[in-house]
């Protein structure tokens, strides 16, 4: 068994801050949206917490952005367009069938090639479209009056709210599925451990 350093410290810091913040945002988001059904926080506290944690996510995103672009590691997220379709299919077959038979994972994780084709596709969408859209819509909803012109350019407050709410459900689902997928390492806790230590174990 060999070890490889695949998750540098800034990435791990970004990841866990983001993870904790997302949990807070989902909980406070549920409280804000369903105030008449749920009452574990006052709405005022929920909104305040949601706003602060939202800004933490934005600051954390900037950390991710600065690190990945300044080191050039952002290439990890770019899919290889020639092999992408075939790789993604191979990966999907593995998760849908091969994994049950004990076949090896077709993707070998290294520091320079961290994500499999399906992860690349998902994370490019997440980090460059969904998360920025969630942050921007969140900032607009934080100061509706102040961003009135931008909100109107997007079609009004109801549209911005719709984007934020749909992405809220998407991220809530994502966190659940992401956590499950993280148990698909060579042991159920292997990937979790690696995200703390930085080292992935290879068999």
């Amino acid at each position: 068994m060999s070890k490889e350093y695949v998750h540098p410290a800034p990435v791990r810091v970004w990841h866990w801050i983001n993870a904790a913040a997302f949990v807070f945002l989902v909980i406070t988001g549920v409280q804000i949206r369903f105030a008449e059904m749920i009452n574990f926080l006052s709405l005022e506290d929920a909104v305040r917490l949601h706003n602060w944690v939202g800004f933490l996510v934005i600051a954390d995103y900037l950390l991710w952005y600065a690190y990945y672009f300044s080191t050039g590691k952002i290439r990890l997220y770019y899919p290889n367009l020639r092999t992408f379709a075939a790789d993604a299919l191979k990966q999907a077959k593995y998760y849908g069938c091969g994994i049950f038979k004990g076949e090896p994972n077709p993707h070998h994780m290294t520091a320079d090639n961290k994500f499999n084709a399906m992860q690349q596709k998902a994370y490019v969408g997440l980090m460059f479209i969904f998360l920025p859209a969630q942050m921007i819509s969140g900032v607009f909803l934080w100061q509706v009056k102040g961003f009135e012109n931008y909100i109107n350019m997007l079609g009004g407050i109801r549209i911005v709210d719709t984007i934020h709410v749909l992405l809220f459900y998407f991220f809530a689902t994502f966190m659940f599925v992401h956590t499950y997928l993280a148990t698909l390492g060579h042991t159920p806790l292997a990937h979790f451990k690696a995200m703390f230590t930085g080292y992935e174990e290879h068999h």
């Binding site: 105030a35 008449e36 709405l43 909104v47 038979k101 100061q143 509706v144 009004g156 109801r158 719709t162």
Partner: protein
């Protein structure tokens, strides 16, 4: 003959008495035009005891459209201590007039006001008469006024809400869409006003224009839109109305504002009456959003209001977003389907993983 003579005499006497009465009352009645002969001059001033010059000018145009003039209230109905004018004097009536007693007509308002922080301020030596908020001679009807117009003409004359609402998230948004008294006069009934904003002309459309486009009148509007005749425009009926407007190339959204009903109790504003429980408003079952009205501002200054089902606030026809309260239920259904789908995939995959443990063990042993 004797009897006929007597009747004629009585008739003549009664006619004389009648004419004298008419002449006397005509002489006593001081019409508004007479007052405006002097008070219509914008340079009319008097010097107060403090040396300050006070204007005695009354803007006739504004007064013409004031709620009092519209209801036929004359100058001397309020300034009741002016019973006669003596034109020989420089000032034809008493120089110092009694304070106008609004409470003589507005009894219920006076009662509500008596129990308000503004009235109680008199203990501290501060007198806040009605006209401090309502102005002197241009007291206007407020039914057509927007939240910003209502606030600018009243509370914001003295109060700076920015000083006391730092705790309130998105406070500017609250100030723009919620009338102060919605929170600060807690006993007053409230409603959401929906007004049609034309996105092509970028302006609120007058009720007369909307009715003309719908080829109907104020009286027939209900029969046209509220087809089930239950007195409330439900979501489907509202949608049909929007479609009818679109067919006539009228495109826009209904802007919502939370305002108070024009009830006397609105004057009962008290310190500490507003609370900080956000969920009182921001929940789908909030009583604050029970009463929703489609409001048409008519050219004559009146307002035509029609009851609307509160569920309309949860549609995209209405541009009014109160967290929790106006949430679009369809989004929650989509969200729950998304989460359920994620859970199902994970559950099926995990089950398959557990069930295939023996298979993997066997394959490992064989390898």
């Amino acid at each position: 003959m004797e009897g006929t003579k007597r009747i004629r005499f009585v008739a003549k006497a009664l006619s004389i008495v009648f004419l004298v009465c008419i002449w006397t009352s005509a002489a006593l009645a001081i019409d508004n035009e007479t007052c405006m002969e002097c008070h219509g001059d914008d340079s009319l001033r008097r010097t107060e005891s403090t040396g300050m010059k006070a204007s005695l000018y009354v803007d006739g145009e504004k007064f013409k459209y004031s709620v009092h003039n519209i209801n036929g209230i004359a100058c001397t109905d309020c300034h009741a201590d002016i019973t006669e004018l003596n034109m020989d004097n420089e000032v034809p009536h008493a120089v110092n007039l009694a304070q106008v007693a609004c409470q003589n007509c507005h009894e219920e308002v006076a009662e509500a006001y008596a129990n308000s922080v503004h009235k109680k301020a008199s203990h501290k030596g501060v007198t806040i008469p009605c006209y401090a908020c309502h102005d002197y001679h241009d007291t206007a009807r407020l039914a057509q006024a927007t939240v910003s117009e209502r606030q600018n003409s009243f509370c914001l004359k003295c109060h700076n809400p920015n000083k006391f609402h730092d705790w309130l998230p998105a406070k500017e948004n609250h100030f723009a869409l919620v009338e102060c008294t919605v929170c600060h006069a807690p006993d007053v009934p409230r409603h959401v006003n929906l007004r049609f904003y034309d996105l092509i002309d970028n302006q609120f459309l007058k009720g007369d224009v909307i009715l003309r486009h719908l080829n109907t009148s104020q009286e027939e509007f209900t029969a046209l839109i509220d087809r089930d005749g239950d007195g409330t425009i439900n979501v489907d009926e509202f949608e049909d109305m929007v479609l009818m407007l679109r067919q006539r190339d009228i495109r826009g959204v209904f802007h919502g504002e939370l305002v108070v009903d024009m009830e006397p109790v609105v004057h009962q504003v008290n310190r500490g009456a507003a609370n900080r429980d956000c969920s009182q408003c921001h929940s789908a079952t909030s009583a604050f959003f029970k009463d929703v009205r489609l409001t048409f501002d008519m050219n004559d200054g009146s307002v035509a209001s029609y009851n609307v089902d509160r569920q309309t606030l949860q549609t995209y026809f209405v541009e009014f977003n109160a967290l929790g309260t106006t949430r679009v239920r369809l989004l929650d259904k989509i969200g729950i389907a998304l989460i359920a789908g994620g859970v199902a995939v994970v559950f099926i995959h995990l089950t398959a993983r557990l069930l295939t443990i023996p298979l993997r063990k066997r394959n490992k042993e064989n390898a």
